[in-house]
Symmetry: C2
Subunit: 236 residues, 2 copies
DNA sequence: TCGATGCTACGGTCGGCGCCGAAGCATTGC
DNA sequence: GCAATGCTTCGGCGCCGACCGTAGCATCGA
């Protein structure tokens, strides 16, 4: 069985403020250098190096060396899902802080951000709402599915739902999706293959753009129109 | 936003061997006393008391006092899901240990166990396989759904799928389910409302029974027949 | 009322680990 | 070649927290 010692070891790796900051930063799926990660964690590069070494040897991170840079990224989707579930719990248990937490950076994150490979924040929730309202998808509790009209819509838009393969198991002809409770909106947005496909598509078409050095994304004017026309998304 | 400090705090709570053992033990959804939990963690009651106090004030555990006993249980489904995802990562990263891990207790766990509120192990996977083979359910990657024939089957058996409500969001007429990668079988079993309903039903009908002081369950002779007749499950 | 049981509070010990400064390797560019 | 950059290793400091023994507080049974 999975020894509890192993569970504790993994959890302890995520249980340090500096490492948690690094892991959380990597939640957008990008690969960053040790120096960048040291900066977001607020520690010196040599300390960060130690942390990154531990995370890498444990298998939580994967590194790719390019010249004198070493790019670190989350080793797998499972790692991202773990961080996600911890954040979930953290947001639930978080004491109702004052509106202290609404700095400009935070506002951008609340508006729209990536959650590993899909969209979250008000944009993510609005997208999910629009798809549900139009009957393009259905969700209930733990899971959801793209309806026939949804499949037709995505096909018409050129969104490739098969790009991210499911994680093993049997394939079915249906396209399911995973609802993911949004920590800022406290309502579900779409994750899984569908969420990833929409996110990828939106980046490729220039509908959204990454905000430098953050998980936040900004909706371009073009994207604003496209999202409204394609999905009926209304952004305030 | 969810501060990374908060994430680290939650992860650190699960990142101690003693606390991880306690949390993992509580994954079967039962409520245990401090002394019992101290025993499984291999520490003295007074040390356990301290740990339990921290977990409780953080909101990971809920306590219910009954006379001179204080029963501790996981505070929510979200906590269980977090532990689950950490175990998931741990099992992935676990070094391929020798067949050292096949003690008798471990064998029982591999055969059949509860995973918070649903069934796992060979039994859980066999159940999922049988339902999928018979076309009573479909899964793909992140999610799945009970088919019409499945709904008819559960109705005929008297399994109440509506007993555990979904976690907010919009209700749909469909019954979705969540596949959960089994750490011992490395293949998906059924979680979510459907998994919980099957598990509850099996306990109520006396098809399975808890093994004392463990997450393992044993299939009764009656249950062996019932599971075969009802779902076509073949247990070796 | 009085012991027994379950649990918690306090004080002291000690090991682990997060941190940085300094120094040592790689790689790049001049 | 020689500096500059990115990263790692090493050594030492300091602190947090896990642990237990002892003691104190509730609850139960006789």
């Amino acid at each position: 069985m999975v020894s509890t010692a192993m569970i504790a070891e993994i959890a302890a790796l995520a249980g340090d403020p500096a490492r948690a900051a690094m892991l959380n930063t990597l939640m957008d799926g990008r690969a960053l250098t040790a120096t960048e990660l040291a900066s977001v964690a607020g520690i010196t590069p040599q300390t960060a190096s130690g942390h990154l070494a531990r995370l890498t040897t444990a298998g939580l991170l994967a590194v790719e060396k390019q010249g004198r840079h070493r790019y670190h990224r989350l080793a797998s989707q499972a790692i991202a899902q773990m961080i996600e579930s911890i954040s979930q719990v953290a947001s639930t248990l978080e004491p109702p802080r004052r509106n202290l937490s609404t700095g400009p950076r935070d506002l951008a994150l609340r508006a729209a951000r990536t959650c590993y490979d899909h969209l979250a924040g008000r944009l993510g929730v609005a997208l999910a709402d629009a798809l549900l309202d139009a009957g393009h998808a259905e969700i209930d509790g733990d899971a959801g599915e793209v309806t026939d009209s949804g499949l037709a819509l995505f096909a018409a838009l050129g969104v490739d739902l098969d790009r991210s393969p499911g994680r093993g198991g049997r394939r079915s002809t249906r396209v399911f999706c995973r609802p993911c409770l949004d920590w800022s909106e406290r309502r579900p947005h779409l994750a899984g293959a569908v969420g990833a496909a929409i996110c990828t598509h939106s980046f490729e078409r220039g509908w959204i753009r990454r905000v430098e050095g953050s998980r936040a994304v900004s909706v371009t004017p073009k994207g604003r129109l496209a999202l409204r026309d394609a999905f009926g998304v209304r952004l305030d």
